[in-house]
Amino acid sequence: MAMKRRTTILVVLGLAAAFLVALWKPTVLIYGVQQAGLYAAIAIPMGLVLGIVHIVNLAHGEFMMVAAYATYFACRATGLDPLLAVLPSAAVTALLGWVVYKLTIRRALKAPELNQLILTFGIGILLSQGVNLLFTSQTRKISLEYVSASMTIGELSFGVWPFVFVIVATAMAVGLKLFLTRTTTGKAALAVGQNPRGAAIVGIDVDRTYGLVFALAMALVGGMGALFLTRSAIFPGVGGPFTMKSFCLVAMAGIGNIPGILGASLLLGLSESFLRAFRELRGWADIIFFVLIIVVILGRSLKGRKS
């Protein structure tokens, strides 16, 4: 109930912001939506893990970074297009995720939440510093022609490629929704997320489900890593900010509310794009997620005090 209302509010706010921005400067809207797609596509897997395994994966962005590096070197060696590497990269990251789950996270599930936070923080450091150790902090990029494809409508000219993130994010949200409500495995995962003990009683293998969900989320993030590489330069620290922003989006949507992440991303993407439209304010755009999370938190604590 509350979840649905929050989704509606976020979507309405997002759309209202979109409409106002579109009236004023259409390119701001376009960039905002594209950025929102990127944020959502990275945040949705985190929302999945948080909603079902109940773990904040502070190494979330680092997994994406590792996938991007793997893709980079594979493409460099074979001359393959990163786009073709999306599925292999997803498979490799899924495997990595599964191993990390089995070796570490599984052992910390029963420990206090404190330990889990520190654990995934450590995993994040291990991944980013491991990459730093192996490949130095030099930035790397693959130049692709189709990425700069642009489109002109009247006086309006803009890049088309980043819309792929919007498509991917929407596909993820829809796909996960179908997976969680229509398939046996998905239903089991949902049941485990809501009540692990109850799910165990009816015969669901909770540990296996957690491992599966974690691997699935890492597969999605891994695929995103390859896709991210098509457009952006990568370096060991490239994933970190996405961890924080993803968490912010998941928290805004409410844990377990995957469609809400789309709305929250739209709000964040548009606000950032709006600020970037002003030369003097451009540098402040990266602070918005923090403002949003503080506002959401404050709103919730005020509401909590009333009830």
Binding site: V56, L58, T104, R107, A108, A111, P112, E113, L114, N115, L117, I118, L119, F121, G122, I123, G124, I125, L126, L127, Q129, G130, V131, N132, L133, L134, T136, S137, P236, P241, M244, F247, C248, A251, G283, W284, D286, I287, F289, F290, I293, I294, I297, L298, S301, G304
Partner: protein
């Protein structure tokens, strides 16, 4: 008997620490200063952890203190000494405001907001170039005490003394009971009359002030501040790894961990210029999974078992 022995050991270690400049050269003194700085940060991180709240915001508050000190001198004409006190006060005031907003949150929400702090402060500094010097940072006219190696060492040691005194104060006062009760079970803590929010706020402000103070000392010892140098993630990562390795929920644990890891860090830094921090990631993971109470906890367990066997 045992306790007196410990006191004697602590007194000797303290005396040795104070007297170190008499026999150590410039390089060992520099290493010692780093170890001491991280040790103090590790202690303050642990102090808040005793309430069950994990802060990833050490670098943020350290950096805010550093900038407060530099700008206090450059923009308000403070003396270097006053600016260090101002750093503590400013970090304390900032943490009071932040804590007021976020200490109603628990566990992951609190932790992640603190994780963002360094990034947020860095953006603020970047975007106010006229006042803060922007991405290039600012340079002071000189280093405090004219850069005397032993002077700077003693100054840093002073920062550690503040952290140790505060930590000891926490352990010996009502604070100890408040934080332990909150960590164990907030519901039953409330029923014992503990105003959880208030105690957490006090603990957060005290630890943040000390982190700011250390930032002030750091920046006065080097004479410059850039966003990248004072908000460096190492200021979060190293203290955290040190406290975990040494043993959390105590004063001695972080001290132990800082000595071990601080010395190891110096060695690693020379060996592996890129990515030596990977070691800290591994240490954090291994400690959390296999000995969550750290070395001190392990030692206590072993000695406890030995005591039982004797009895």
């Amino acid at each position: 008997m045992n306790r007196n022995l410990l006191r004697l050991a602590a007194a000797l270690a303290g005396a040795a620490a104070v007297a170190l400049p008499a026999f150590a050269g410039a390089y060992p003194l520099q290493v010692a200063r780093n170890v001491i700085m991280y040790m103090a940060l590790a202690i303050t991180w642990d102090m808040l952890l005793r309430s069950g709240q994990i802060s990833f915001g050490i670098a943020g508050l350290f950096g805010i203190g550093a900038y407060a000190a530099v700008l206090g001198v450059l923009r308000a004409g403070m003396s270097p000494w006053l600016s260090i006190a101002f750093a503590a006060a400013f970090a304390g005031a900032a943490s009071f405001l932040i804590g007021f907003l976020i200490l109603r949150l628990r566990t992951m929400y609190f932790s992640i907001v603190t994780l963002a702090l360094a990034e947020i402060f860095r953006i603020v500094i970047h975007n106010l170039p006229e006042f803060t010097g922007g991405p290039e940072g600012v340079v002071l006219e000189g280093v405090i005490m004219k850069g005397s190696a032993s002077g700077l060492y003693w100054l840093t040691l002073g920062g550690l003394a503040v952290a140790l005194a505060a930590s000891w104060g926490f352990e010996k006062s009502r604070m100890h009971f408040a934080l332990t009760a909150i960590r164990n079970n907030e519901t039953s803590a409330k029923s014992s009359g503990i105003d959880i929010f208030r105690w957490l706020l006090v603990a957060f402000v005290v630890t943040s002030s000390i982190q700011g103070l250390l930032g002030g000392i750091y920046v006065q010892s080097y004479g410059f501040a850039t966003p990248d140098s004072v908000f460096d993630a190492n200021f979060t990562l190293l203290p955290l790894a040190m406290a975990l390795l040494g043993g959390i929920h105590s004063t001695i644990g972080p001290v132990l961990g800082a000595i071990l890891l601080g010395l190891a860090a110096e060695w690693l830094k020379l060996r592996i210029p890129y990515g030596h921090l990977v070691v800290y990631g591994i240490i954090i993971i291994v400690v959390i999974l296999f000995m969550p109470k750290g070395l001190y906890g392990l030692a206590r367990k072993v000695s406890g078992a030995a005591d039982r066997r004797r009895a």
